[in-house]
């Protein structure tokens, strides 16, 4: 069955550094991948969407890469700030024509940015 793996250990970094979070998947060929931010006790907030034919997407301090050969996405936050501290979720979805387009979520990785 398909598996989405995100590092369960929290990532601790210093303010100003670049945070890099990883999302690996197996037994799956997603059509797209999304990244969400989730704060404790709150709903996920969408950040970026990248499709299978795209290698990289940027939005302000955020950058996402998508390597379908390695079956991996990297999520970067540059010039990180304590306000970036949250859990980051990756979600993958398939082709609507081939089955479900609904995104399946990973467990998320907690990011802690220290001042």
């Amino acid at each position: 069955s398909q598996k989405i793996e995100q590092n369960s250990e929290a990532l601790n970094i210093q303010e100003g550094k670049t945070a890099t979070l990883t999302c690996n998947y197996t037994n799956y060929s997603p059509a797209y991948l999304q990244w969400y931010r989730q704060d404790p006790g709150r709903g996920p907030v969408f950040l970026l969407l990248i499709r299978e034919n795209e290698k990289e997407k940027r939005k302000e301090r955020l950058k996402v890469t998508f390597d379908t050969t390695l079956k991996q996405s990297l999520f970067h936050i540059t010039a990180s700030q304590p306000a970036d501290s949250a859990t980051y979720l990756c979600a993958l979805g398939g082709h609507a024509s081939g089955g479900s387009y609904i995104p399946t979520f990973g467990r998320g990785t907690s990011l802690i940015v220290h001042p």
Partner: protein, 115 residues
């Protein structure tokens, strides 16, 4: 900024009782979703709703669950006879288009506690 609203924020119910969780999606959105998140675990898809009918559902969404869009604004999730393992955070989400084209906007969730 438009947002998805969910009520109540917290619901405590006795095992075996029926509960209805309510959501008001963003007004011009066409796709509606329910997800749940058991404490400390990943966000899990329950059901999607489009054009006044269920478009997809997961294995979790068994006969105990039902969804309705009783009017032009509300979207409800009913659990007929709650079990202890139904205790979770339930998130409603909506999107203007299919999830493979655009982001989903999540509400703040209803924390359901079954005792």
């Amino acid at each position: 900024e438009p947002e998805v609203t969910q009520t109540p924020s917290h619901q405590v119910t006795q095992m075996g009782q029926e509960v209805i969780l309510r959501c008001v999606p963003i007004s011009n959105h066409l796709y509606f979703y329910w997800y749940r998140q058991i404490l400390g675990q990943k966000v899990e898809f329950l059901v999607s709703f489009y054009n006044n009918e269920i478009s997809e559902k997961s294995e979790i969404f068994d006969d105990q669950f039902s969804v309705e869009r009783p009017d032009g604004s509300n979207f409800t999730l009913k659990i007929r006879s709650t079990k202890l393992e139904d205790s979770a955070m339930y998130f409603c989400a909506s999107s203007p288009d299919r999830a493979d084209y655009t982001e989903a906007f999540f509400g703040q969730g209803t924390r359901l506690t079954v005792v």
